[in-house]
């Protein structure tokens, strides 16, 4: 039997499993191929929803579903944590000590947040990169009565590059609605020389920041927190005082990838071919989503568009045919919504060869994001769109 093993039941792992299960249905049904997903929690979490726990009344329980409920019946699910990968004998060891062999391996292990890597982060800073943290931030905002709020980025790469700006806009709108705006200052720290990496979006965002009175600090990469003076310090040598601090925490790839020698420490991002998505130097091992070292947004959308490439390459290998070139080549496609606040949004859509040309912010794209949030469970993980 030919075994396809997928580590991670997030967006990328789930779509690859469902697509491969369908493409190879006759092989699976006749017992010649197995498709197995290994997931630590056995639960699929819709992470873009975390921000809406803080700002949109979303509830954590609505952002999580059993992974089994999203998988094709041909796909097996093992709930457990992979703790070792042996690429020579082609097997993965689980924390229980059980080994799972494979002929084809997909590493969709995502990224993890490591706020503990920055001293004082956990005591001083809020974030919105987990349901618990988003709830804590909600609670801190509920008791906020005015003062200086600093929003910054404490490590790269991080999930969803537009998220900190979206939070700045949503926060500003909330403070205005609660009558606290005149008693508050909002400072936004951008790691680069403008508000956002994409110039046209940056221009749009800068206009909005001027209009909304949000102060932009450029080239401010958060490096340290001084809790006694209540200041945040930058890699570039500047500092800002805060009453409420909201920081994107540092992120890392999965520890098991570093331990297996597949991804370099300290980051833990897998060296990945930008078109085939094969892990460099590892025939038959693929990576997608946050786990890769590709210079792309760490976002579900990236994994979503990468998954068909991995599925086609594996299906072709099993069937002993060359992969369909168009389906089996990733062109860098990413598409995501961007909240501007006040019920408006825009859309970022690009690939390796085409920069984004986002439309003017409008209600349509804000509603588009809300609709996407609701319909996600029925479409994306199942590989229907």
């Amino acid at each position: 039997m030919e075994r396809i093993l997928i580590l991670g039941g997030g967006v990328g792992g789930t779509i690859v499993a469902n697509l491969v299960g369908r493409k190879l249905r006759h092989w699976v049904d006749s017992g010649q191929v197995s498709v197995t997903v290994v997931d630590r929690l056995g639960a699929h979490v819709y992470q873009p929803g975390f921000m809406y726990i803080t700002f949109g009344g979303e509830r954590p329980e609505r952002l999580q579903r059993p992974e089994r409920s999203l998988l094709d019946s041909r796909v097996q699910l093992v709930v457990g944590e992979a703790v070792a990968i042996d690429t020579v004998s082609r097997a993965v060891r689980l924390e229980t000590g059980e080994w799972l062999g494979y002929e084809h391996l997909v590493l969709a292990t995502g990224s993890r947040i490591v706020p503990q890597e920055m001293e004082h982060f956990e005591d001083e800073a809020h974030h919105f990169y987990s349901a618990e943290a988003a709830l804590r931030l909600r609670s801190a905002l509920d008791s906020f009565t005015g003062g200086r709020i600093v929003i910054g980025i404490a490590g790269m790469p991080y999930k969803c590059p537009p998220a900190p700006l979206e939070v700045a806009f949503l926060l500003e709108a909330e403070l205005r609605q609660r009558g606290l705006r005149e008693d508050s200052e909002i400072d936004f720290c951008s790691p680069i020389g403008r508000a956002f990496t994409i110039e046209s979006v940056s221009e749009m965002a800068t206009e909005q920041m001027i209009e909304k009175g949000i102060t932009l600090h450029t080239f401010f990469n958060v490096e340290a927190i001084d809790p006694e003076r209540r200041v945040v310090q930058s890699l570039e040598g500047e500092e800002l005082a805060y009453d409420l601090l909201i920081l994107v925490p540092p992120h890392r790839g999965a520890q098991v990838l570093i331990d297996a020698g597949l991804a370099p420490a300290p980051g833990g991002w897998l060296p990945t071919d930008r078109q085939t998505l094969e892990v460099v130097g590892q025939t038959g091992v693929y990576a997608l989503g946050d786990a890769t070292d590709l210079p792309l947004s760490k976002a579900g959308s990236t994994a979503h568009f990468e998954a068909p490439v991995v599925a086609e390459r594996i299906a072709a290998a099993v069937e002993g045919r060359p992969p369909e070139e168009l389906q089996a080549t990733y062109n860098g496609r990413v598409m995501c919504f961007f909240e501007i606040g006040d019920g408006k949004g825009t859309l970022l859509r690009f690939d390796y060869d085409h920069p984004p040309e986002p439309p003017r912010p409008n209600r349509f794209w804000h509603l588009g994001k809300l609709v996407f949030n609701k319909t996600y469970w029925h479409t994306v993980p199942r590989g229907r769109v």
Binding site: G193, I198, F219, P295, F350, D351, P356
Partner: protein
């Protein structure tokens, strides 16, 4: 990926086609994890990188080694100094 760039060995960051997070973010990410003295070469198809990256390098106090135009992309070489 380590490669020979000009007459020195450099950690190459291939950020061609990167719009989000973009070449400068990729450089900052790499430089934060690199040892002092490491030379980093960013490849970028974003014309803004020729301006943005040297500006950040100056502000952050690192050393700009070279900015060169290659076949369809720019190559910006930076040394981490502290």
């Amino acid at each position: 990926m380590i490669e020979q760039v000009g007459n020195q060995t450099a950690h190459v960051v291939d950020a061609r086609g990167s719009y989000c997070p973009g070449p400068l973010m990729e450089l900052i990410r790499t430089i934060r994890a690199a040892p002092v003295g490491e030379v980093i070469c960013v490849r970028s198809t974003d014309r803004g990188s020729r301006v943005d990256i040297p500006k950040w390098v100056e502000k952050a106090g690192h050393r700009l080694v070279d900015v060169a135009e290659r076949d369809g992309f720019d190559e910006i070489v930076v040394e981490k100094t502290h």
